[in-house]
Subunit: 349 residues, 4 copies
Amino acid sequence: MIDYRSDNTGRAAPEILEALLRANDGTALGYGGDDWTGELQRRFGELFETAVRVFPVATGTAANALSLAALSPPWGLVYCSNLAHINVSEVNAAGFFGGGIKLVPVAGSHGRIHADAFAATLAAIMPGQSHRGQPAAINLTQPSDLGAVYRLDEVRAIADLAKSKGLKIHMDGARFGNAVARLGCTPAELTWRSGIDILSFGATKNGGALCDAIVVFTPELADSLAIQLRRAGQVWSKMRFASAQLLAYIADGLWLRLAEASNATAARIAAEISGIDTVTLLAPVDANLLFLEMPAATLDGLERDGFQFYRRSRTVGRFVCRFDTTEVEADALIAALRRHATAVRRAAE
Amino acid sequence: MIDYRSDNTGRAAPEILEALLRANDGTALGYGGDDWTGELQRRFGELFETAVRVFPVATGTAANALSLAALSPPWGLVYCSNLAHINVSEVNAAGFFGGGIKLVPVAGSHGRIHADAFAATLAAIMPGQSHRGQPAAINLTQPSDLGAVYRLDEVRAIADLAKSKGLKIHMDGARFGNAVARLGCTPAELTWRSGIDILSFGATKNGGALCDAIVVFTPELADSLAIQLRRAGQVWSKMRFASAQLLAYIADGLWLRLAEASNATAARIAAEISGIDTVTLLAPVDANLLFLEMPAATLDGLERDGFQFYRRSRTVGRFVCRFDTTEVEADALIAALRRHATAVRRAAE
Amino acid sequence: MIDYRSDNTGRAAPEILEALLRANDGTALGYGGDDWTGELQRRFGELFETAVRVFPVATGTAANALSLAALSPPWGLVYCSNLAHINVSEVNAAGFFGGGIKLVPVAGSHGRIHADAFAATLAAIMPGQSHRGQPAAINLTQPSDLGAVYRLDEVRAIADLAKSKGLKIHMDGARFGNAVARLGCTPAELTWRSGIDILSFGATKNGGALCDAIVVFTPELADSLAIQLRRAGQVWSKMRFASAQLLAYIADGLWLRLAEASNATAARIAAEISGIDTVTLLAPVDANLLFLEMPAATLDGLERDGFQFYRRSRTVGRFVCRFDTTEVEADALIAALRRHATAVRRAAE
Amino acid sequence: MIDYRSDNTGRAAPEILEALLRANDGTALGYGGDDWTGELQRRFGELFETAVRVFPVATGTAANALSLAALSPPWGLVYCSNLAHINVSEVNAAGFFGGGIKLVPVAGSHGRIHADAFAATLAAIMPGQSHRGQPAAINLTQPSDLGAVYRLDEVRAIADLAKSKGLKIHMDGARFGNAVARLGCTPAELTWRSGIDILSFGATKNGGALCDAIVVFTPELADSLAIQLRRAGQVWSKMRFASAQLLAYIADGLWLRLAEASNATAARIAAEISGIDTVTLLAPVDANLLFLEMPAATLDGLERDGFQFYRRSRTVGRFVCRFDTTEVEADALIAALRRHATAVRRAAE
């Protein structure tokens, strides 16, 4: 069995668990009053080149929903891609935590919003319409749920539009490391310097274990969020074990090395299969996700071979590379795709 | 510095973190589809001598609030002790997750509800009062927030009253191990055999690290709760790292040994200071908590000595024993209390 | 000024206000314990040919949102037309009252859902997807927000699909009278005999004054809804003044006469302007709404003439006929449309 | 039968219904865009001697819950009397509309909060306690649910305490007219000049029919509240019929005359029965409510005589005077109380 199901089926990076173990020393004040969590604030401040507030949370769903609840009143509209994780895969957690927030899809491609479509959406809003939800925020999934990455200028164009209407901007960075690694920019450039107010900073999909984080760039949003997190059951009493994971994750560029690894594996597979005429990439392979369309017989064949992946339809499969997907595993997938494609072509002849 | 602040300032039991590390092997289906979480269901079934559904969650607040939301409609009343953790220390998370659930304090002592007071409360409910909240559930904190433990017959008396009115029963077992260790009963006796529908099963305060659990004894409540947990951001994608902790926690009776240790330390301190006439226990020391009243000068002295504890008022301090509170630390507290008490007595003479 | 803005800009039918006045006699138990509200249950039972529970409420938004909250758990998905009032015009009240319910648009035409599109939507649901919202209910706006009416067989086809998947069915009958008048069916046929669980029974837009109603056909939903209405601030203490309005509304077929009047006016306008080649009907005129596309200059001309209507875009206007729109007012609109159309044609020549 | 059950069992003042009828003339923009609602803003501005925003709502529960939701974040604590209507009789609507707001009772007497007790409550709040609800607002029921009226200096003392801690102040004026009539002060003095931010302005219990109102004195709270009201289903499309009622209610001092009438009747009964030694007033009769303790046999006798009232226990009855309670009805109650008391005394001899 070779696992391409998800980046959350994988292991944690050993450095992260070792840091968790090292944190098991002495006593420490609960609920984030410990030294590790204090250090976390400083290190993230350095990483993002500005003072930030960092809140470790258990899951990406918590990070996203609580971020949006901090950025929108209960009657707010939050714009997002139709394919955004918050819209498709989180049981409407944003609506729940936000007291009735409504998500409004905006057109685009490959899970990204197009600035033009967003501009058109904003232009259609008429003032004084108290019977409509009130425009409040926009969510960018970076990379998108199809593995496409917004360029810096694309993020800025959308953020500028949002700011011009007083909207707040949330980035769902469940795979933030993959985006930064791909773009070669700084974390600051991709976030607050581009107008992001709050970032869901993912670690779990990129070698983390039990926590992601919310990073707040707009200071006045942080104090209320801290209370909301407490009542949301997202503040560990032994927070040091979460903060230590995140400290290790960003120490010495580990997070970027992990993301580069999974990005590279995906890119290699994409390159190698580009010549197979029956296999089509449905989205740019900017990060570690491949959405492949191919004959059902080819997908059936891969399943028989023992490859694990999510089949989105009879002819579409999602293949996810992890930081620890090996070259051998990548070679195996490439070879199997070629083999089945050849068999399909022969059968068609 | 000797730390008596809380059982969440302490370390995790090494066995638990080692199990977490061992779980970092191979790939595993996300969101609880892994083998560890499957095994968790079986082991908790054995522990509780009945089929249960176990849901690892990040915090006790999440466990309590989501349990109550599963036991009460949004317009429900949940009875609890005035001092209950859900009433005092969770930012009304139950009201939030429950869509407006209201907590109603019932009289008792030492953080426990008295069956007589609960019977009187129930007797005062008049039928057909749609302008009142609707009685829905009762919460028992076991041990209480003052460290007192309900006896089995006390739990059953309250549960019988509740059941007779159609109410559901939740046990907040943030320190469940301490209660079981104290009573010498089985986990089954203290829960479903006594009428409990859902248990918040605490681990963090007793040597755990990053997760507690919800244990559901009433099967029809579990499927909805599973969905609610997902949207509450309480379902880790790499759930194996949580389940592995809980498996280690209950393996070979570890959880009871840890609880017996902290209980024993607290009991020893209580016994040794019983002869000091200026120091008074404010509640029975059934578990690992000591609430001590003493002259302000004595508490001031302890602080100067480097003891850490929560001062509830000028003359009341809370001292919490952890599984790894040492004999030396206990001796130090006993000796310091004697020393300061003597000084206070002399000053008064 | 001739007002075609909305059916809520109009007067109340005198019979309804006179009934309200007659109810001002003697004392009466509050919160629906009065004789008028008792009588209301019986009369609606006769009207719908089955036992029902009727709850007067202040507004259609309250009727819709509270009905949906009764039909769906907080994590439920409610299917509706993209143009449905609940989706477009109620500030996501359903999401608020429902604790995070999510509305999911289904394709169709003229504000109606197509059974085929709904079948496709249901077919795409995969079991066991706890990360998605859970399909719970479907909302039919009858007539639609564009004034199109579902035929009985269309309602039944959709309801059958819904029932086959365990979904509940809500009908938003803000203009229910117009639909019944149009179809010539019985209220029973259009509701519970076609599978409807709860009906938002509109009166305000059809000659009512200050109340609409929720009609519950599925008895087990009613008791909880009664409590929810109370906490939603929708239960008048002097309920008799609301019930008396609704009693008058349905007495002696008043409600159908009022709806027939506005339907007939709209139909007459539609017929008379069908020959004007620059004016296009955007939806069937099944009820009392006309959506007309025409040159901007024509709409500008109507505005200069003193006609009031909502302009949905430069070239689209919504014209609503009320029960008391006069023949003179209809003639005036027809004549003005002809006059401006002729002018536009000449200008183009 | 003579009805002392409640002030909501009574009739509406004819002037109010006549005004409602007169509003049935011509067309008018919906949702408060009509002339009556515009006039309402001006007239209330005059009445309160300052610019206000007035929102008609269907019920007092809606007024209270939505006011509190406007004054408190979801994690807020709202202080109130243990006997406050919001705490006892509104199915925790404040918790629901407020997204989990928690009500915290403060000690006092006769349904009023004592400033000293409130000061002690505030003094016990420790800063930085993110695990507690956050103090947000205080609710004063004026008159209280036992019919006692806060004096102006009492309101101000409590409001000053609240303001000093940054809390907002809500007055539940379900019987506001009775309080103003009793105190002989201006509406301004009792509200914003004493520090009130939002007033629930009751009309229904004092001769109104189908609406109360929210009066906002703190302007920055009004815009959000307007949207929240819309999604709460509290904004009538034919608002003119609500606004017309409220305009009539305050025109020419009608509301004060109605309140003076019910106050005077209650005061006369209280005075006349003060000599009956077996009948005890449980609270000051400052408004139109009498809470009377007497032998069960006396209450039984009153019931047999055909008096209607709420029996709070075997020996306590609540008697409510309405604006249209007649002198004959008052005489009858006084005489019956004397007669039964004499019989009880003789039986005891």
